[in-house]
C-alpha cells in the first residue's frame, strides 16, 4: 500500500463502513470497530515512512480512531530537557509557534516525567502550561508517553472541544498508538541525525580541499574528488605555488572513513602545504609530515605522494609514502606507471626515510596522481585496476579532459565504494611562436617571466640570453602596464618568435606611446637597449608596439 495517501475511509469513518482488509468483521460492533482502528495504528508500513510523513499519518489515524478534535506530538529535545511541539492536527499553531514545555511541568511535561497516561476532564480547572490549548477552546485532554527502551522520547496527546470523559479503552488505544509510533519516531530521528552528520561531514571534507586551483602560466592543472557512496573519507589533493615558479603537487589518503578521517586529512594537507612552502624537498616534507602525524592525538595512518615540478626545466622531484604509483603520460598519449614505492605510509614506522626520485616532465607530458579508490575493486587484483587506469589515461585535450575521462572510465556513475581523489599536471606544449594576451596588471609580470624563460630554454637559449630577453621584455611590459588608460579592463599582448638563432619579442598595448618621463622610465628604455640587439618602438593602428630582437649567443 501507499502509506503516504491517507485512507479516506479511515479519516472520515462512516456508519457501518467496512474497511479494507477487515471484511467479515461486524463493523457495527464497537469492539470490532476499535479492533479495526487498532489494526490501522499497528500498520507495519508506518515504520518505513520518513519522520514527517510518519507523524502526519499517525496523527491522522489517531484523530479518526478516537474521534477527537485535536491531536499533537511533542518530542523531547535532549539538549534543552524540554518538550517541543513537532506535529499537530487541529492545533497547528502549537507547532508553528514552536511551543516548548519543560519536562515535569504542566500536562504534557508531567506525562513525559512520570511516563504514564494522564486524563484531564476539564482544562479550565487544570494546570495547563500551553496557552494554545485554552485559546483553541480545548476542554478535555488525554495524553500518553512515547517510550523507547523505558525512556520517554515524547508525548502524544488528544483533545476535544466539548467536555468528554475518556475511558480506559480510549487510553489503551492511545497507548497502543504511542507504543507503535515511539520506536519508529526514534528510528526516523536517529536516521535524520545521521543524515545531518553525513551532510556535515561531506561539507567538512569539501571545505578541506582546495576550492580553486591556481592558474599558473605554462602548466595546466585539474583535479577531481568523488566522495564515497555512504561515508566521507580522508582523500586529499593539493596544488601549491612554490618560490621561484616551481609547483608542488600533492595527493594523500588517510586510512579509515568518517569525520575523524576527514579532519585528520585537513591537518595533514595543511601540514604538507606548510612544509612545502618552507621550501623542503619532497622526501624531507614527507618525513616532517610523518613526524607531525605522530604528535596528533588518536593519530591514524596515511599514504601520500608529493612532487615538485619546475616548469622552467621540466625537472620533477618526487617522494612517496606508501601511495599508489603516479602515472606519466607522454605527449603522444602513452601512459606508464612510475615505480612503486617501498617506503612505509605516514604514521606506521619509527624513523622512516622518504627518498626523492627524479624524473622529468617535458612540454606536452602529464603527471597524474590518484588515490586507491580509483583503481581498487573488490575481488580483483590491484594490477587489473592499474592496467585499466593505464589504458584510460591517454592523450587528452587538457588536464581537465584527462581527469574527466579517467573518472568516467574507472568510476562509472561517479559512485565508488571508497572515496576517490585525482590531480593532473600537464606541462603545456611549446610552439615556435608564443602569443600571450594579458591584463594590464603588475602581478602578471612574474608569470610572463616564467613562461618566457621556459619558452626560451626550450628554444636553446643560453642563461645570458634568457636573462637579457626576460629583462628587456619585462621592461616593455611594465611600460605597457603603466600606460594602460583604463586599469581595470586594459590588456596587452606579447608575441615571441624564434627563427634561425634570432629571437624577436613584440609587446603591444592599446595606448598611444608616451615619451618616457622621468629618470625611472628613461632607465627602463635604456636597459632594454643595453640588453638586446635591436629595438624599435612603433605606433600601430590600435596602439604602440615595442619590437625587440636578440641574436642568441651574442
Amino acid at each position: 500500500m501507499d502509506a503516504h495517501v491517507p485512507d479516506d475511509a479511515l479519516s472520515q469513518p462512516g456508519e457501518g463502513q467496512v474497511f479494507l482488509g477487515t471484511r467479515g468483521l461486524p463493523s457495527a460492533h464497537p469492539h470490532a470497530e476499535q479492533l479495526l482502528h487498532m489494526y490501522r495504528l499497528s500498520d507495519p508500513a508506518l515504520s518505513d515512512l520518513p519522520l514527517e510523513a510518519l507523524l502526519d499519518e499517525l496523527l491522522q489515524r489517531t484523530k479518526a480512531t478516537l474521534d477527537v478534535d485535536t491531536v499533537a506530538v511533542l518530542l523531547i529535545d535532549e539538549n534543552e530537557r524540554e518538550l517541543v511541539a513537532r506535529a499537530a492536527k487541529g492545533l497547528e499553531e502549537e507547532v508553528e509557534r514552536g511551543v516548548r514545555i519543560p519536562i515535569g511541568g504542566g500536562f504534557a511535561g508531567r506525562i513525559a516525567a512520570e511516563r504514564v497516561p494522564i486524563f484531564i476532564a476539564d482544562v479550565n480547572h487544570a494546570e495547563i502550561m500551553n496557552p494554545i490549548l485554552r485559546e483553541k477552546g480545548v476542554r478535555s485532554l488525554l495524553g500518553a508517553p512515547l517510550i523507547v527502551d523505558g525512556r520517554a522520547v515524547g508525548v502524544l496527546h488528544v483533545g476535544t472541544l466539548t467536555p468528554r470523559t475518556f475511558t480506559n479503552d480510549d487510553a489503551a488505544i492511545l497507548q497502543l498508538a504511542a507504543a507503535r509510533a515511539a520506536p519508529a519516531i526514534e528510528r526516523a530521528r536517529l536516521f535524520e541525525a545521521l543524515e545531518r552528520e553525513h551532510r556535515g561531514a561531506v561539507a567538512l571534507q569539501r571545505s578541506l580541499l582546495p576550492d580553486r586551483l591556481p592558474d599558473i602560466a605554462g602548466i595546466d592543472v585539474a583535479a577531481r574528488y568523488l566522495p564515497a557512496r555512504d561515508e566521507v573519507g580522508g582523500d586529499w589533493y593539493d596544488v601549491i605555488e612554490l618560490p621561484r615558479g616551481s609547483v608542488g603537487l600533492a595527493i594523500g589518503d588517510v586510512a579509515g572513513h568518517g569525520v575523524r578521517a576527514a579532519a585528520l586529512m585537513g591537518q595533514l594537507r595543511t601540514g604538507l602545504r606548510a612544509y612545502a612552502l618552507d621550501g623542503y624537498e619532497p622526501g624531507e616534507t614527507l618525513k616532517r609530515l610523518d613526524h607531525l602525524l605522530q604528535t596528533i592525538r588518536g593519530r591514524g595512518m596515511a599514504t601520500a605522494a608529493y612532487a615538485v615540478f619546475s616548469p622552467e626545466t621540466g625537472a620533477v622531484r618526487m617522494a612517496n609514502a606508501g601511495h599508489p604509483p603516479p602515472v606519466l603520460i607522454s605527449a603522444s598519449g602513452e601512459a606508464s606507471l612510475m615505480a612503486a614505492t617501498t617506503a612505509p605510509p605516514l604514521g606506521t614506522l619509527p624513523y622512516p626515510t622518504y627518498v626523492d626520485v627524479e624524473t622529468s616532465l617535458q612540454p606536452g607530458e602529464t603527471l597524474l596522481m590518484y588515490t586507491d579508490g580509483l583503481v581498487e575493486r573488490r575481488g580483483e587484483p590491484l594490477t587489473a585496476g592499474l592496467e585499466r587506469l593505464r589504458a584510460a589515461a591517454s592523450v587528452s585535450a587538457s588536464a581537465d579532459a584527462l581527469c574527466q575521462r579517467v573518472v568516467q572510465t574507472l568510476v562509472p556513475g561517479f559512485a565508488a565504494a571508497d572515496d576517490v581523489a585525482l590531480v593532473a599536471l600537464r606541462s603545456e606544449a611549446i610552439e615556435a611562436t608564443m602569443q600571450l594576451q594579458l591584463p594590464a596588471d603588475p602581478r602578471v609580470l612574474a608569470q610572463v617571466r616564467q613562461v618566457l624563460r621556459r619558452w626560451l630554454r626550450a628554444h636553446g637559449a643560453l642563461p645570458e640570453d634568457i636573462a637579457a630577453i626576460t629583462l628587456a621584455c619585462g621592461e616593455a611590459c611594465a611600460n605597457a602596464i603603466e600606460h594602460a588608460y583604463t586599469p581595470s579592463r586594459a590588456t596587452f599582448e606579447i608575441e615571441a618568435a624564434h627563427r634561425a638563432g634570432t629571437v624577436t619579442v613584440a609587446v603591444r598595448d592599446r595606448g598611444r606611446w608616451r615619451r618616457p618621463r622621468g629618470a625611472h622610465r628613461g632607465r627602463g628604455l635604456m636597459m632594454i637597449e643595453a640588453t638586446i640587439d635591436e629595438l624599435d618602438v612603433r605606433a600601430t593602428a590600435t596602439g604602440t608596439e615595442v619590437f625587440m630582437l636578440r641574436r642568441l649567443g651574442s
Binding site: R244, P442, A467, H520, R523
Partner: protein, 116 residues
Amino acid sequence: MPLAELTTDTVGRVVVARLDGEIDMSNAGEIGDALNRHVVNDSLGLVVDLTEVVYLDSAAIQVIFELREGLRTRGQLIRLVVVPGSAAADTLRVAGVPAAIGVDETVAAAMRKISA
C-alpha cells in the same frame, strides 16, 4: 607565495636586509617601504644583500635610488651585495648603479665599509 622574501637583522648599528626571489614593479614599492621602516635613526646605514635575488628590473633600481636619497638626508649610508657575474649584477651594471652606489661581493665587506 610572495615574489620575494625579506629578512632583516641588525648587527651593531648596521641593518642587514637579505632579499630572496624576484623584484619588479609589483613588489618593489612595498619592499622599499619595509626597508625604510627597518632603518632606525641611530643606524649607521643599510646593507641590502641581493645575493639570492634572481631578477630585478628598473622598478627595483628606482626604489634603491630612492632609498639612497632618504638615507642620505639622515646622514646614513647604503651598500649593495651581489655575486659578480650574476643576473642581478648585470642588471645593476646596465642601469649604471655601481657608479652611484657602493656594491660589494660579501655582506662582511659591505659592513666594514659602512662602519669604517
